[in-house]
Each structure stands twice: as structure tokens, then as C-alpha cells.
């Protein structure tokens, strides 16, 4: 601890124990704790306490005070815990009405338990309960008593203490602890209703994850299996998910957990599947023939009464259960330890059925189905969850016919006038994911065989959505268009379907949308289409306006009043420059000069950063790409530079890149300055490599270094091109590394120091201002 802090500490302790003094807030105390933690990691706590008796006074004082704020009490307890981790034994306090205190006390309890066990039991790992140290006995007695209590809060506390214990401590004694307590926990599962179910699930999972128990803990697995069959649908989902995420766990239990997880979807399927006919689910989509889906895992699952009750209880309970189930399965799907075989087909069937229930087109076959139909019709929340889930299922392999049905459902969702903007966004995302995963055929078409027809229908829908009066819809439609053309811009089928529609034309028109977000998305979309050569077919009406997208984007960059479209233009331009877009390649220097000039004057810092990015790309193209910094990368022979250094520099001067970069170096927005710094460092590095290649060093000695501030100044007048020599001199005169490290420090690095924290807290207490008399 530095001297200044040591000096401030006693005053602070005085403030903390003085009930009349307001303590700034809990965040301050949290920060203070963090700092103490750092300090105690660096030096001995004992020494710290000896050197700062005020801390001991604080702790002992706190215990005597009656009307202390919970915040300070919690702070003191945790501070004590920090010291206790090295020193020893404090009183504990549990069950305080304040959540802070209860949590702190619970944590402290765990610390103490762990400490006392470590002290006494390290040499006898399988210590029996009777031989435990008194302190641990006492704590366990308390926990046992709480577990038997009928008051749910007491049970919750006990379970939380145990969860923390098993989570933190993985010594052999925890196994003995579990042996001692498991019967009590098992009793909880037998109660009806199960108290503190949430905490119980946490505990079971925590124990199951603990490496101490290995894979042979039959008692634990029995208990988990029982919990799976007894817990209500709200709590059983997280437990089942947790079990399925475990790396080692009996297969039977995994099967049970997965069935539990699938239960709500099985109910939904059962309530909507046609009873007669072949077993399985008949999925029907517009214009496709019905395909039987074998339910697999879902087949033969008995209806769980609790799940059905939850589905039928109320709209919110039904929607909540389905959303959680879908989210759990979504979380499980990408994991390597997910159940195998993964019931891809029934799950797809379930997702589609849920969507059909939401849009009212599902056919219920039972009273449960009728009820679900009534509950879920128009339920946007479930619709969104189902679309997310459906999108995730695109990663699995599905039969081609089923894929077409999924696409048909998505198309209906996109088409429906009743779909809300948020649902549409999700539907666009899901459609994109399914298209992305559509089976590639080795035929001439890169896309699947049915995709061209689908694309034609999709563009009709997209066309309508681009005309929506709701800007969110126009925006997500444009984003979707951008994604599509980025991935399939080169495919003949895609561009054929796209150009046959009015989509490119509409995207162009949306460059003038009244909503700035839409304009920005339109800029990105048209930029992307243009890169792929997917220009809107010219109609005489707009022929004049459409002469050049480049001109239109420059107009937006120079005149648009909102930042988003201008940022989007800069991104498009950067991409164009990188990809050598035809319009840019025609006169790259002129293009770069114009864009940099506009960007440098922009009031939006992101536009300026993007301008520097574009400058960097241009630099790379003029001087060669940046060197790889990876020391293990195979060192490729340095490619011969495109042109001599002087000529390259002259080109850079010509586009006024240095004007922009030097001015940006002193930009009031830090990211701009950082970016500029990186750019100049790259340039210096490049020049050095030129020199190492032996190219003649331009003679800079004779150049009078003009004050470089001239560039950084506010002058905006056009000036003659800078001489490369002057630029090089300038570069050499700058301490770019120093600047870079200064800029790398966050702007609040002063405010973040512990000294500042102590001063602030004292200032709140009025101590630094000194004279209390001043107040009067």
C-alpha cells in the first residue's frame, strides 16, 4: 500500500463506522474490497493489519454497532473474510434481512468451514463427521438444522451455503460432507411442494460437477433422477440441461434428462398430430406433399401431467415454458456432449408446429391442442423463440423434403401481414441460416435444386417488405438482402432471381428513406449489390438519378445529416477500395482524395476512424500489405514494392492522406487519434522496410522541418501537395510510440486509481474539505 493511501485510510475507517457519515454507495465499497484483495495478494495480511490498526478497530467496532448500514456491515464481513483467508476465525452471521449481509455471511461461512477443515483434516482425508473440528461441527449442525426447517428461506440459505462449498472446495472432505448431508437433501425432494427448488437444482448440479465424486456416486445420481421426476416444469428444465452438459454421467440419467427436456415439445406435438395413420408427425406445407416425420425420441413418451398443467395453466406460463424449453435445446444443440442420436427431425417438426400454433394454422386433435391453439395464437414471444430455434436447427442434417417445408413455413411467416417487425427480423435470420446450410449439389447450380424457385418467391416477399410503412421492417429486409448478396452474389441462380425482381431498384430508392437507419442499411445493401455487379436494371424513369451509385453515395457522405448513413458509406467505400470495385479502379487516387477530404471534415468520429481505415487500405495498396507480426509465421520473401518509394509517397501526398492523418493524430476523440497513430506507425515501418531493401533514402537532411502542427491545426484551406521529404521528416520527429502508449491508457486511468477512490469516499463524507464549521 502506498504512503498516500496509508495516510488516508484511518480517516476513511472513521467515516465508515460513523453512522452519521453517509457512505458514498455500495459500488465504492465493492471497489474498495477489490483493492484490498489486490493489496493482500501482494503483501502479508498480518503485516497490513499491524501497520494499519485502524482496520482492526474498524472490524471490532462494526460488531458492536447496532444501527450500521447493511452495506458497511457486508463490507466489513467480506473484508474480514479476506483477512480470514490467511489469518483465522471470525464470528458469522446468517439470516440477516439484507441480501448483502446474508450473501456475505454465507460466503464467510464457507470460508471458515474450508479453513477449519483444511487445518484439521488435511492429513486425514476421509475424516468421519465425528472427528471434525468444533467450528466445522457447529456450522454443519446449523446447516443440517436449516435443511430440516419448514421455513423455505432457511432451506434456501442452507442450500446456498452447500452450493458455494461444493463449488469452491474440491478437497476429499467434501465427499464426507455430502455423505453426511445427502439424506437430508433427499428428504427435501420428497416434500411436496419441493422447497427452494431453484437452489436445490443449483446444489445438485454443483455436486454433480464436482470432480471429487468421480463417476461412481450412485446415491447422487439416484437423487438427481428422483428430482427429475418430482420437480415442476419450471425448475426441471435447468436441471435437465445441466445434466446433459455434464461430461460424465450415467447414460440412463442422460436419457431421462433429455426426455424431461423434450417433454413440453412432445406435448405440443401430441396435441396436434393426426391420431390415425402412420406413427409420426405429418407436416404439411403449402404446395408440398405431406411427409411423415418419425418422432423417434418423442414417440412413446407418456404425457407428463405437470407439463400439461403448466402448458394449460395460463398464457404466460405456457409461453414461458415453451420459450425456456426452446432456449435450452438451442443451448444444447452445438455442444459436443449433446445427446446422440440428436432427434433433428422431430425437433424440426416441433418447431414448425409451434410456429403453426402461433400463426393459427395448426390443426389440434385434442382438447389440449385446442387450448394450445387458443393460447398461442398470435403469441409473438413464442414465435420469436421458435424462429431462433428453427434457425439453430439448420446446422443439423435434415431430409431435403423437410428443408423445403421449413423454408415454406419461413416464407409464410415472412409473407404474413400479421407478422410483427421483431418476428420478421427473426424470420429473416432463420431463413438466412437455412439457405446457408441448404445442401450444395454438384450440379451446375451452386445452390440446392429447389432453391431457385424459393428465391423467386422470397424476392417477391422481400419486395413487399422493402415497401413497408414500418421502418424496422424495411431495415431488416435490407440487412437480409445484404447478407444474401454477400454469400450468393456470385451464384447465377441467385443473381438471376434477384435481377428479375424489383428488389435492387427498391434498395436504391431506399437511399432516400426518411429514416436514417434505413438509409444506412440501404447504403450497405446497394454497395454490396454493386460490388457483386448486381445493378438495378435501368428504367427510363430513374435513369438519370442512377448514373452512378458512387455519385449517390458521395452525396450521402457529404450531405446526410445523420451519422449512420455516412458511416455506412465509408464502410462501403473501404470495401470497394479493398476489392478493387470498377468505379473506384477507374481513378483510385481521385476517389481516395475525395473521400478522405469528406471524411476528415466529418463531425462523426466513427466516420473519421473509418476514413483512416480506408487510408490504411490505400497505404497497403500503394506500399504493399502490412507485415505479419506472428514470429512463427513462415517468412515470405518481401514482395517487391509496387513502385518506388518517392513515387508512392507522392501519391499519398497527392490524396492528402498525410493532412488527414496528422490532423487526426490530435483528434479530440481518442479512437481517431489511436487509429491515426497505428496508421503512421505502419507507414514508418513500411518506409523502413523500403530502406532495408536498399532503395535510395530521400535526402531529408536538407529539408527544413516545417512545424508539423501546421497539419494538426484547424486550417482547412486547400494547400499545395506536401513534399514527401517533409512528410518523412515529420514522421521521424514524432514520438509515435510514446503517443501510442499515452493513448492506450484509458481516459479514466486517473480516476480509477485507489488513491482517487479513497479521496472520493472521504469527500462524500466531507472530510477532505476539512472544516465542518464551514458548513455553518
Amino acid at each position: 500500500m502506498d504512503l498516500e493511501c496509508s495516510r488516508l485510510l484511518p480517516a476513511l475507517c472513521a467515516v465508515l463506522v460513523d453512522p452519521r457519515q453517509p457512505v458514498a454507495d455500495d459500488t465504492c465499497l465493492e471497489k474498495l474490497l477489490d483493492w484490498f484483495k489486490t493489496v493482500t495478494e501482494g503483501e502479508s495480511s498480518l503485516l497490513l493489519l499491524q501497520e494499519h490498526p485502524c482496520l482492526v478497530e474498524l472490524l471490532s467496532h462494526v460488531l458492536k454497532l447496532q444501527d450500521l448500514s447493511p452495506g458497511v456491515l457486508s463490507f466489513s464481513l467480506r473484508l474480514a473474510g479476506i483477512f480470514a483467508a490467511q489469518e483465522n476465525c471470525f464470528q458469522y452471521l446468517q439470516g440477516d434481512s439484507s441480501l448483502f449481509v446474508a450473501s456475505a455471511a454465507s460466503q464467510l461461512l464457507v470460508h471458515i468451514l474450508a479453513l477449519s477443515m483444511r487445518g484439521g483434516a488435511e492429513e486425514q482425508p476421509c475424516l468421519q463427521g465425528d472427528d471434525w473440528p468444533t467450528c466445522a461441527q457447529k456450522i454443519m449442525g446449523h446447516v443440517e438444522e436449516s435443511l430440516c426447517s419448514t421455513a423455505t428461506p432457511k432451506v434456501t440459505q442452507a442450500l446456498n451455503v452447500l452450493t458455494t462449498t461444493f463449488g469452491r472446495c474440491q478437497s476429499p472432505w467434501t465427499e464426507a460432507l455430502w455423505v453426511r448431508l445427502s439424506a437430508r437433501v433427499a428428504c427435501l425432494i420428497e416434500r411436496d411442494p419441493i422447497p427452494a427448488a431453484h437452489s436445490l437444482v443449483d446444489l445438485l448440479l454443483c455436486v454433480a460437477r464436482s470432480p471429487v465424486f468421480g463417476s461412481s456416486n450412485g446415491n447422487l445420481w439416484e437423487m438427481v433422477a428422483q428430482a427429475l421426476s418430482c420437480l415442476g416444469p419450471t425448475h426441471v428444465g435447468p436441471l435437465a440441461l445441466g445434466i446433459l452438459k455434464l461430461e460424465h454421467c450415467p447414460q440412463a440419467l442422460r436419457t431421462q434428462a433429455f426426455q424431461v427436456l423434450l417433454q413440453p415439445l412432445a406435448c405440443v406435438l401430441k396435441a396436434t398430430v393426426q391420431a390415425p395413420g402412420p406413427p409420426g408427425l405429418l407436416l404439411r406445407a403449402k404446395g408440398t406433399r405431406a411427409v411423415a416425420i418419425t418422432p423417434g425420441l418423442l414417440d412413446g413418451m407418456a404425457d407428463d401431467a405437470m407439463t400439461v398443467d403448466a402448458l394449460l395453466a395460463s398464457k404466460s406460463s405456457c409461453a414461458g415454458l415453451l420459450c425456456r424449453t426452446l432456449a435450452h435445446l438451442e443451448e444444447l444443440q452445438p455442444l459436443p456432449q449433446r445427446p446422440s442420436p440428436w432427434p433433428q427431425v422431430p425437433l424440426l417438426g416441433a418447431a414448425v408446429t409451434v410456429l403453426r400454433l402461433c400463426d393459427g394454422s395448426a390443426t389440434p386433435v385434442s382438447s389440449v391442442g385446442g387450448h394450445l391453439c387458443r393460447t398461442l395464437a398470435g403469441c409473438v414471444r413464442v414465435q420469436r423463440a421458435a424462429l431462433d430455434f428453427l434457425g439453430m436447427l439448420s446446422q443439423g442434417t435434415s431430409p431435403q423434403e423437410l428443408v423445403m417445408q421449413v423454408l415454406a413455413v419461413l416464407l409464410e411467416c415472412l409473407e404474413s401481414p400479421g407478422s410483427s417487425p421483431t418476428v420478421l427480423k427473426k424470420a429473416f435470420q432463420a431463413t438466412f441460416r437455412w439457405l446457408l446450410s441448404s445442401p450444395k449439389t454438384p450440379s451446375c447450380s451452386g445452390l440446392g435444386p429447389h432453391i431457385p424457385q424459393f428465391l423467386r418467391e422470397l424476392f417477391l416477399v422481400l419486395q413487399k417488405r422493402l415497401c413497408s410503412p414500418c421502418w424496422e421492417v424495411r431495415d431488416s429486409a435490407l440487412e437480409f438482402l445484404t447478407q444474401l448478396s454477400r454469400h450468393w452474389g456470385g451464384e447465377a441462380d441467385f443473381s438471376c432471381a434477384l435481377l428479375a425482381s424489383e428488389v435492387p431498384e427498391l434498395a436504391w430508392q431506399l437511399l432516400q428513406d426518411p429514416e436514417s437507419y434505413v438509409r444506412a442499411s440501404a447504403v450497405t445493401a446497394t454497395g454490396q449489390l454493386s460490388s457483386r455487379g448486381l445493378h438495378a436494371p435501368t428504367s427510363p424513369q430513374h435513369a438519370v438519378a442512377r448514373q452512378s451509385l458512387l455519385r449517390e453515395l458521395l452525396r450521402i457522405l457529404s450531405t446526410d445529416s445523420e451519422g449512420f448513413p455516412r458511416r455506412a458509406v465509408m464502410q462501403v467505400f473501404t470495401e470497394w477500395l479493398r476489392d478493387g470495385h470498377a468505379d473506384v479502379a477507374r481513378d483510385t487516387e481521385q476517389f481516395v482524395a475525395t473521400v478522405l477530404q469528406l471524411a476528415s471534415q466529418d463531425l462523426d468520429w466513427e466516420v473519421r476512424v473509418q476514413g483512416l481505415e480506408l487510408a490504411l487500405v490505400f497505404l497497403g495498396q500503394t506500399l504493399g500489405p502490412p507485415r505479419t507480426h506472428c514470429p512463427y509465421a513462415v517468412a515470405l520473401p518481401e514482395a517487391a514494392p509496387a513502385r518506388p518509394l518517392t513515387e508512392a509517397l507522392r501519391a499519398l501526398c497527392h490524396v492528402r492522406l498525410f493532412d488527414f492523418a496528422f490532423r487526426a493524430l490530435f483528434d479530440c476523440d481518442r479512437p481517431v487519434a489511436q487509429k491515426s497513430c497505428d496508421l503512421l506507425l505502419f507507414l514508418r515501418d513500411k518506409i523502413a522496410s523500403y530502406n532495408s531493401l536498399g532503395e535510395a533514402n530521400p535526402n531529408t537532411n536538407s529539408v527544413e522541418v516545417s512545424p508539423w502542427r501546421r497539419w494538426a491545426g484547424e486550417q482547412t484551406q486547400p494547400q499545395e501537395d506536401q513534399e514527401p521529404e517533409a512528410v518523412l521528416a515529420m514522421l521521424r520527429s514524432l514520438d509515435l510510440e510514446g503517443l501510442q502508449s499515452t493513448l492506450a491508457e484509458s481516459s479514466d486511468h486517473v480516476e480509477k486509481s485507489p488513491q482517487s477512490l479513497l479521496q472520493d469516499m472521504l469527500a462524500t463524507g466531507g472530510f477532505l474539505q476539512g472544516d465542518e464549521a464551514d458548513c455553518y
Binding site: G360, A377, S416, P417, C467, P469, E502, Q509, D513, P514
Partner: protein
């Protein structure tokens, strides 16, 4: 209480309610879907329509070929279109006392009822309803009269012939009662019988019932109605909306505690969300116009068109369509656009507040000013000079059978660039388009119906909690095309009673009470006796006087002295002459038992409604002189109304005997409903004795004076 159902159309209702000696017609809707069976009336000579082949029977018999024409596999009647009227035989319509109109769409049959049935009553409606209803009628008459058609087909209506016709003509109902459109003269005469009312205005009908219009949120001036007596309340809910469109919001609170709620006029497209449909409308309009096509919107001259214009006002600039002209063509276009701006008090709050700003409530005024929206009475005249394409045309009639829309269908139907967008939900768009087939024009169906959907209805019913719901049978089952959608029907407890055309429903009523006032001098004479803390009783002997459905207890006549036969009887002005009362039964009231009965009944009644009644059941030893049947006496402890409070104060000021307890002068008694003897205007004198005389229950708290 009975409900006579004269129309089977759920959104164009016409029901008659018999309630407490009054006969009230609820709405007067005209089902115009019958016109879909007729050929369109072209404004400009249409060679296509006039050259359609006549229809002949399968055996080649062509005797109907003058009346029926065939077009793309459909058969149409070539005649002046006719409308299907409400039932006129189910009840003698000359006995209808009043007609209550909910909104301008629900009054289109009014001239048929008021002018041809011997109706002598009054029609009640709000001012915008009348004014816009007049416009709708005027437009209808104009559309039909300006295309004179000599032919009127009747042969096909013969039952034996109709059976041979193809669907849908074969299945058309009550064709013999179909009538041609009324004339402007009949319209004016019908409208002259209307009395204007304002929201929440209380209108007394013969002292028996009170009717009150409430804002229903559906259209300018649209209302729901409360029909109530002192102890019965019937709510009539017609086209209502909870969406924030232009009209004043719906008043739901006043519908609470109804005994019966008659529910009609729900949305006809329960699965379509109006917002989504407006979005569809705009997108399709923009796509068409951008491609150089024209957009035709068949519509009524008032209502949704205001909202569509407002939506387009915001949309066209953002969609880059500001240069596209919008045309509104209707004989009443000008009046409709102007009326909408002057009915400020009937508009939603947002629009009302604009009255204090220098801008009109609806933005279509600005569209007109900037020449973006132009309106014309007809396609003839100025319109043909100004007409520019591509454009958007709003015009009637939504049935596509008459009006300027017929011309545009003929003009634009051949090009696939053009689009017709259906926004009115009243007609099936496929049937409307049938006589125009084959059609190259694109057709978009975006029905915008802002009326209540089933979710909103279920919330509303939970909120207002009527004892019974009565609705058209269509609302008690899912729509035929979506039989699995159990959410698309009314779900309430007890289940709704349903009706269909030409059915008479007996409405269930649990409460049967009348309010009776006690004359102050009679009240003064009562001496309540506290029989238990908080409960006092007094016996009362009185004469019940009933006039104009008001009941009054008067002091009993002094028993006439037995005189010698020759002396003349003294004539009493105040007290009606009556026969000698039967001698009172003597004895004492079994107080404990009596009070227990009172409490039991009061607990029972307290659960039903907010009026606490104490009923003295089987308290009947006296006799009605004329009726002779009293089931119960009750005493009301409900809070006094302001009027009653004032009356009570006045009466209390009257000198009373000092130091003696007086009955609260305003305490009211309730008698079983006097229906059998409550003929309007009849004068009844009834003398009543109850129990050993009569009993009265008073709340001890009212004696704190």
C-alpha cells in the same frame, strides 16, 4: 323480456327488444350482399357487359335468358340491384316505439322501416351518425338512380324456378322480400324522424326505461346503448373498437353490471390485424405505382378512408410517391371530407386538441391543399380533364355492382400493371370480382376492420361482467373455414345465448323489482320500532298509486263511516274511493324469526349486484284489489342519488313532531314488478296490506338526527 331477431347478419343487426312495456328496435342494418347476385351497373356503356350471353337451363330452355346472364361460369341477374331487408313479418313493426341507431352503417334499412310499416315512433342517433348516414344513403341512391335500368327481373324469384338455378342464386334466401333501393324522398322523410342525442345523454321512454348512448370508438358518432329501468339493465354493444383511430375512445365502464349484454358488430376478419393490413395496403400500393400501374380502392365514402388517407399522408413522401395523385370520387366526397373536420367533439382526444391549433384534425386537408388529393362527385366533368396516371383512386361501391368503381374495373381490369385493393370487409372480394372475370389486374385483399376481435371481447366481458350475453349464432362457434380455431368464438360463462334471423329469444332475468315512493305524510306517520340493534320495523297501511310506470304509496283512505243508506257519500279528491278494507289480522310479528329471514335474504341478495335489498318473503296477507298477488316486499338500502338526496332534504325540513322518531322520508320500498297492470297511461289504484298490515325495514343509522 323478449328479443326479436330480424337480421341474421352479425355486423348489420336489426333486433327488437320488448322491455317493460316498451318496444325498442336496436339498429336497422341493411344486408347489401344480395347485390352480388346482380350484374354491375356501368356508368359508361360497357360492350362487354351488354353482350353477355343469356343463361339457359340444362335442357336448353332459354326462357330466363332476359333476366339471367352468364359471365365466366357465374350467373347474374340482369336487373336493378335489390337488397335483402330485415324481417318484417316477425313482429308488427308499427308497434315499435323507438329505434336506436349505433352507427351510420347500421341505419341503411331505416327508410324501409319508417316509411312502409306504419312506424310512428322516434329514431335516436348522434349527429355524425345521421349526417354521415345521410351521405351513405345519398351516395347509394345516386349510384343506382343515375344508371336508369328499365328492367326489373322477377321471374327467377319464383320458388320453383329458383330451385333450378345454379349456386349461389339457388341458395339465396328470402328473395321474394328483396326490394329495390329507396328514393331520396324516402330518405329525407326517414331522417326527419330522427332525434339527435349526445353521448351519455339520458332519454326517458314513458317513464319506464331510460336509454343512453355511449361512445363505441368505431366510427364518428358511433354508439353503444344502455337500456335500463331502476333495477334492470340491458347493454347493447354494436360496432365498437379499442384501437386508437380517429373516433372518441370506447366507453367500457358504463357497460358494467348489465343483466343482459347484446353483443353484435364484431370484426368480420378476426385473424387480420388492422395494423398489418394497413402495412400491406401501403406496400402493395407503392409496388404498383412504382411500376407505373394504377391502384383502385373500392370503399365507402366515410370511415376507414379517413385513416387510410392519414396513413398515406405519412407514407407517400417516405416512399417517394409524393407526385402520384390520389383521387377520391363520390357524389358525397366533398361533404364527407368536410364533415370529418367539423365533428371535433366526436373525435379522439388527439384530434380534438388540434381544434385549438391552426390545423385541421385530419391531415387530408393538407393533402387537398397541396393538390395531392383531389375529390370529384363523379368521373364525368372535371375529373376527366384532371385525370393523370399512374394514380390511386378511392371510390365506391365496395360491392363493385354500382358506382364509379364499375367504370374503373372495366377500364383497368385488362392490365396486370394495375391493382385493386380491397379494404372494406363487408363483401367477399372473390364474389365481388366474379362479373369482371377474366381479370388481368392484380387483386389484393387487405380488409381493415377495426371492430372488436375475440381477444378484446373476452377482456371486455371479463371487465364488465354481464349476467347474460346474447349474440348472433355466428359468434358461438369458430368460423366455418377455420373450424379448429377455438379462439375465434365468444368464450364466456354462462355460455352466450345465440340468435339467428327470424328467431324470438326470451331473455332471462333474475331481478324483478319496482321502485315505489312513499308520500312524505305517510312516511311521517310511520313509527319504526327497533327490533334488533341496527334494524327497525314499522308497519304501514297505504294505497299504491301507479301512473306512467311510477308507483307511489299514499296514506290509506279513512274508512268511511257506516252511514244510513240515504246519505250521500262524501267525495274525496285526494284519496280514491275504495271498498272497506278487510279486517286486519291480529297478532304479533315473530321478531327473531323475521329478522333471521331478513338477514338470510339480504346476504343472498348482497352477493348479486351492489344494491342491498332486504326482502320480506311470503309477507302477504293483504291483497291487491285488482291483482291480488304480492310475492315480496323489499326495502332498499342503496346509496341515494343526488336527486333523491335533494328531495330528502326538502322533505326533512317539513315540520314533524318534535321528539318523536320519524321514518326517513325518502326510504323507498320495492315491489315485485307490476308488469301485468302497467299498461302505459293506465291508472291504477291499489291498496295494499302486508303481513298484519305492512312492514317496513329501516336502517337504524338513518335515525341519528
Amino acid at each position: 323480456m323478449k328479443l326479436y331477431c330480424l337480421s341474421g347478419h352479425p355486423t348489420l343487426p336489426c333486433n327488437v327488444l320488448k322491455f317493460k312495456s316498451t318496444t325498442i328496435m336496436l339498429d336497422c342494418g341493411l344486408d347489401m350482399t344480395s347485390t352480388l347476385n346482380f350484374l354491375p351497373l356501368p356508368l359508361v356503356q360497357s360492350p362487354r357487359l351488354s353482350n353477355l350471353p343469356g343463361w339457359s337451363l340444362k335442357d336448353g330452355n332459354a326462357f330466363l335468358d332476359k333476366e339471367l346472364k352468364e359471365c365466366s361460369g357465374h350467373v347474374f341477374v340482369d336487373s336493378v340491384p335489390e337488397f335483402c331487408l330485415p324481417e318484417t313479418e316477425l313482429i308488427d313493426l308499427s308497434t315499435v316505439d323507438v329505434i336506436l341507431i349505433s352507427n351510420y352503417h347500421c341505419m341503411m334499412a331505416l327508410p324501409y322501416i319508417t316509411e312502409h310499416t306504419g312506424f310512428t315512433g322516434t329514431v335516436y342517433a348522434t349527429e355524425p351518425t345521421v349526417q354521415i348516414g345521410r351521405l351513405l344513403m345519398e351516395e347509394l341512391v345516386n349510384f343506382i338512380e343515375r344508371v336508369p335500368k328499365a328492367q326489373s327481373a322477377s321471374l327467377w324469384k319464383n320458388k320453383d324456378i329458383q330451385r333450378l338455378l345454379p349456386s349461389p342464386l339457388k341458395d339465396a334466401v328470402e328473395v321474394s322480400t328483396w326490394r329495390r333501393c329507396y328514393t331520396m324522398q324516402e330518405v329525407n322523410s326517414a331522417l326527419s324522424k330522427i332525434q339527435l342525442v349526445g353521448y351519455s345523454q339520458k332519454i326517458e321512454l314513458f317513464g319506464a326505461v331510460q336509454v343512453t348512448p355511449l361512445s363505441s370508438g368505431y366510427a364518428l358518432g358511433s354508439s353503444n346503448w344502455i337500456i335500463q329501468s331502476h333495477y334492470e339493465k340491458v347493454s347493447y354493444v354494436s360496432g365498437s373498437s379499442l384501437l386508437t383511430t380517429h373516433p372518441q375512445p370506447m366507453d367500457q365502464a358504463s357497460l358494467k353490471n348489465s343483466d343482459v349484454l347484446v353483443l353484435t358488430g364484431l370484426t368480420q376478419i378476426p385473424t387480420a390485424n388492422p395494423d398489418g393490413m394497413v402495412g400491406e395496403f401501403c406496400s402493395n400500393l407503392a409496388l404498383t405505382v412504382r411500376n407505373g400501374g394504377n391502384v383502385l380502392v373500392p370503399c365507402y365514402p366515410s370511415g376507414v378512408i379517413y385513416d387510410l388517407l392519414e396513413c398515406l399522408y405519412q407514407y407517400i413522401d417516405s416512399a417517394g410517391l409524393s407526385s402520384v395523385p390520389l383521387y377520391f370520387i363520390s357524389p358525397v366526397a366533398n361533404s364527407s371530407l368536410e364533415f370529418s373536420q367539423i365533428f371535433a367533439e366526436w373525435l379522439c382526444h388527439n384530434k380534438q386538441s388540434k381544434v385549438y391549433l391552426p390545423e385541421p384534425p385530419f391531415p387530408h386537408a393538407e393533402l387537398i391543399q397541396t393538390n395531392k388529393l383531389k375529390h370529384y362527385p363523379s368521373i364525368h366533368g372535371d375529373f376527366s380533364n384532371d385525370f393523370r396516371q399512374p394514380c390511386v383512386v378511392f371510390t365506391g361501391h365496395p360491392s363493385l355492382r354500382f358506382g364509379d368503381v364499375v367504370h374503373f374495373m372495366e377500364l383497368w381490369g385488362k392490365s396486370s400493371l394495375n391493382t385493386v385493393i380491397f379494404t372494406e370487409p363487408d363483401f367477399s372480394y372473390l364474389e365481388a370480382l366474379a362479373p369482371y372475370q377474366p381479370l388481368a389486374m392484380k387483386c389484393i385483399y387487405c380488409p381493415i376492420d377495426t371492430r372488436l376481435n375475440f381477444i378484446q371481447v373476452s377482456k371486455l366481458l371479463k371487465e364488465v361482467q354481464p349476467l347474460h350475453v346474447v349474440c348472433p349464432e355466428q359468434y358461438t362457434q369458430p368460423p366455418p373455414a377455420q373450424s379448429h380455431r377455438m379462439d375465434l368464438m365468444i368464450d364466456c360463462q354462462p355460455p352466450a345465448m345465440s340468435y339467428r334471423r327470424a328467431e324470438v329469444l326470451a331473455l332471462p332475468f333474475k331481478r324483478r323489482y319496482e321502485k315505489i315512493e312513499i308520500m312524505p305524510e305517510l312516511a311521517d306517520s310511520l313509527v319504526p320500532m327497533e327490533i334488533k340493534p341496527g334494524i327497525s320495523l314499522a308497519t304501514v297501511s297505504a294505497v299504491l298509486h301507479t301512473k306512467d310506470n311510477k308507483h307511489l304509496l299514499q296514506p290509506p283512505p279513512r274508512p268511511t263511516q257506516p252511514t244510513s243508506g240515504k246519505k250521500r257519500k262524501r267525495v274525496s279528491d285526494d284519496v280514491p274511493d275504495c271498498k272497506v278494507l278487510k279486517p286486519l289480522l291480529s297478532g304479533s310479528i315473530p321478531v327473531e324469526q323475521f329478522v333471521q329471514t331478513l338477514e338470510k335474504v339480504s346476504r343472498f341478495l348482497g352477493r348479486h349486484g351492489h344494491t342491498t335489498r332486504i326482502s320480506l318473503s311470503r309477507a302477504h296477507y293483504g291483497s291487491w284489489r285488482q291483482q291480488g298477488d304480492v310475492a315480496a316486499w323489499t326495502c332498499s338500502r342503496r346509496p341515494l342519488s343526488t336527486q333523491e338526496e335533494a328531495a330528502s332534504t326538502r322533505r326533512c325540513d317539513e315540520p314533524g313532531r318534535v321528539g318523536q322518531r320519524r321514518a326517513h322520508p325518502c326510504q323507498s320500498l320495492e315491489l315485485p314488478q307490476l308488469t301485468p297492470c302497467c299498461q302505459r297511461g293506465a291508472r291504477l289504484h291499489l291498496s295494499v296490506r302486508i303481513w298484519e298490515a305492512a312492514a317496513m325495514v329501516l336502517d337504524a343509522q338513518e335515525f341519528r338526527e
